[in-house]
Symmetry: none
Subunit: 225 residues, 2 copies
DNA sequence: TGAGAGCATCATAATTTTTTCAAAAACAAT
DNA sequence: ATTGTTTTTGAAAAAATTATGATGCTCTCA
C-alpha cells in the first residue's frame, strides 16, 4: 500500500485528490502548506508527494528543496496554467512530473502510477530472478548465468529460452514455438528450431538437460523444483 | 581526498596556502585570477574554493557568482584588512567564511576543515550522487564527471543517461526509450536512439562499457556494485 | 544575421545472427 | 540386426541489426 502526501493550500483541491487517490488504492495524507509538509515528511514515510507550487508560508519549490535534503521522495508538482517554470530548475530539484491545473483527477493518478512504477522498476528488489539449479535467469536484465558465470545469448536464444521457461513442463510443438516466437508470418523451415535449440543447449552447458526433446512433437523445458 | 582550488593573483600567497594545504592532507590546485578559476571549475570537481577578493580580470565576488551558477561549491574568501564588505552580500552568494589577510596558514586550514565538515554533515542526505567506478553522476545538479573530470553532455545525452541509470540493469527496448524519453507522441525513427547512444558513449570515455547493446531489443545500463 | 550547438535522418560499413542444408547420429519398431 | 524416420550437428550462405559518419534542419545567442 503506497502512501501519498498531498500538499496544497486549497482544501477543496486536497479533498478531491485525496478522494480519488484512495479510490485508486493509495493512502493519502494532507498538508496545507510547505512548512507542515516538511514536518510530516520528517515524521512519516511517503512514497510520493503531490505538491502545489503556489502556497502561503513556503512555496512548493522551496518546500521540495528542503524535503529532498531529508529524504529522497518522488514529487509531482501542480502548477496553474500560465505559470511558467523552468523545467530544468525542476529537474535539479528532483521533480518527477508536472501537472497543470485544472487537471482531471484521473490524469493526475495516471501520472502518479507512472512515476511510482518507474521508481519500482528501478528498485533492485523487483528484479525477478528464476533459478534452476545452477542456471539463473533474469528476465528484466535479459541475462542468464550458468554456475555463477554470465553467459551471452543471441536474441533468438533468449526468446527461445524465456518462452520455454515461461511454459516450463509443458510440451511445446514446433508449430507453437514457431508461431509464438517467430510470429505467425514466419515462412521458413521447421528445422530452423532445431538449430536454435542446439545453440541454446550449447550455451546452457550442463543445464542443456532441462531442454528435453519430444520426439515427433517438439521440445519442453523440464524442471521440477 | 579533498580537492581545493586556491585562487589568488599573488604567486607567493598561493604557494604558501598550497603547501600548507597539502601538508594538511588536501590536494590543491591553483588559479591566478577569476577567469581561469571558472574554467577550472568547469573542468574539475573541487570540494572547496579559497578565493581572494581583489584580483585582476575578474574580482573574487564576481567569480564566485559565476561559479555558483555552475556548481555548488563551498567558498572561503580572503580579503585584505581594511576592505569592508557586507557580510550579508557574501551570504547571498553562498560564501561560507571570511579570512582576513594577513592570516596564518594554520588558521586558514582550521577554517577549511570547519567548512568542509559542516558541508559533509549537512549534505549527506541530499547527496544524489551515484558513482559507477570513475563515473560520477549528480542527478540534482545534472552534471557528470569521468575520472574526476567534469564532462558536459547535451540535454538528450543527460536524459538518456539518467533514464538508463534510473533503470540500470534493466533491458530497455527502443520503444520504451523512445516513449519515455522522447515522449509518447514522438513520431520519429527508431535509429535516432542509436545516434544518441553513440554520442553518449563517446562522452563517457572509458565508461562507455556500461552501456550495453542488447541486440534485437535495445540497450541497458549495466553495473553491478 | 551568422555561427554554433543539438538533433533527426540517412547511407554505408561493420558485425552478429539466422537460416539453410546435407551428412551423421539417434531412435523406435519390426 | 535392419530399416525408415526423426533429430542433432557443423559449416557456409543469407539476412538482419547495429555502429558510424555525414548531412541538413532548427533554434539560440551574440
Amino acid at each position: 500500500m503506497k502512501r501519498l502526501l498531498i500538499v496544497d493550500d486549497e482544501d477543496k483541491i486536497r479533498e478531491v485528490i485525496k478522494e480519488y487517490a484512495e479510490f485508486s488504492g493509495y493512502v493519502a495524507e494532507e498538508a496545507a502548506d510547505g512548512m507542515s509538509a516538511i514536518g510530516m515528511v520528517k515524521l512519516n514515510d511517503y512514497d510520493l508527494i503531490i505538491m502545489d507550487v503556489m502556497m502561503p508560508k513556503l512555496d512548493g519549490f522551496s518546500a521540495v528543496k528542503e524535503i529532498q535534503k531529508i529524504k529522497n521522495i518522488p514529487v509531482i508538482m501542480l502548477s496553474a496554467r500560465g505559470e511558467e517554470y523552468d523545467k530544468l530548475f525542476g529537474f535539479e530539484l528532483g521533480i518527477d512530473d508536472y501537472v497543470v491545473k485544472p487537471f482531471s483527477p484521473k490524469e493526475l493518478m495516471a501520472r502518479v502510477n507512472a512515476v511510482l512504477s518507474r521508481v519500482d522498476a528501478s528498485d533492485k528488489s523487483s528484479q525477478t530472478i528464476e533459478r534452476f539449479d545452477g542456471l539463473e535467469v533474469n528476465f528484466a536484465a535479459r541475462t542468464i548465468s550458468v554456475d555463477g558465470k554470465r553467459i551471452e545469448l543471441t536474441p533468438k536464444e533468449y526468446d527461445l529460452l524465456f518462452y520455454m521457461i515461461q511454459n516450463k513442463n509443458i510440451a511445446l510443438s514446433r508449430d507453437r514455438l514457431l508461431s509464438d516466437i517467430w510470429g505467425y508470418d514466419f515462412f521458413g523451415d521447421d528445422r530452423t528450431i532445431d538449430t536454435h535449440v542446439k545453440n541454446l543447449r550449447n550455451s546452457l552447458g550442463p543445464y542443456r538437460k532441462f531442454i528435453v526433446t519430444l520426439r515427433g512433437v517438439g521440445y519442453k523445458f523440464e524442471y521440477e523444483g
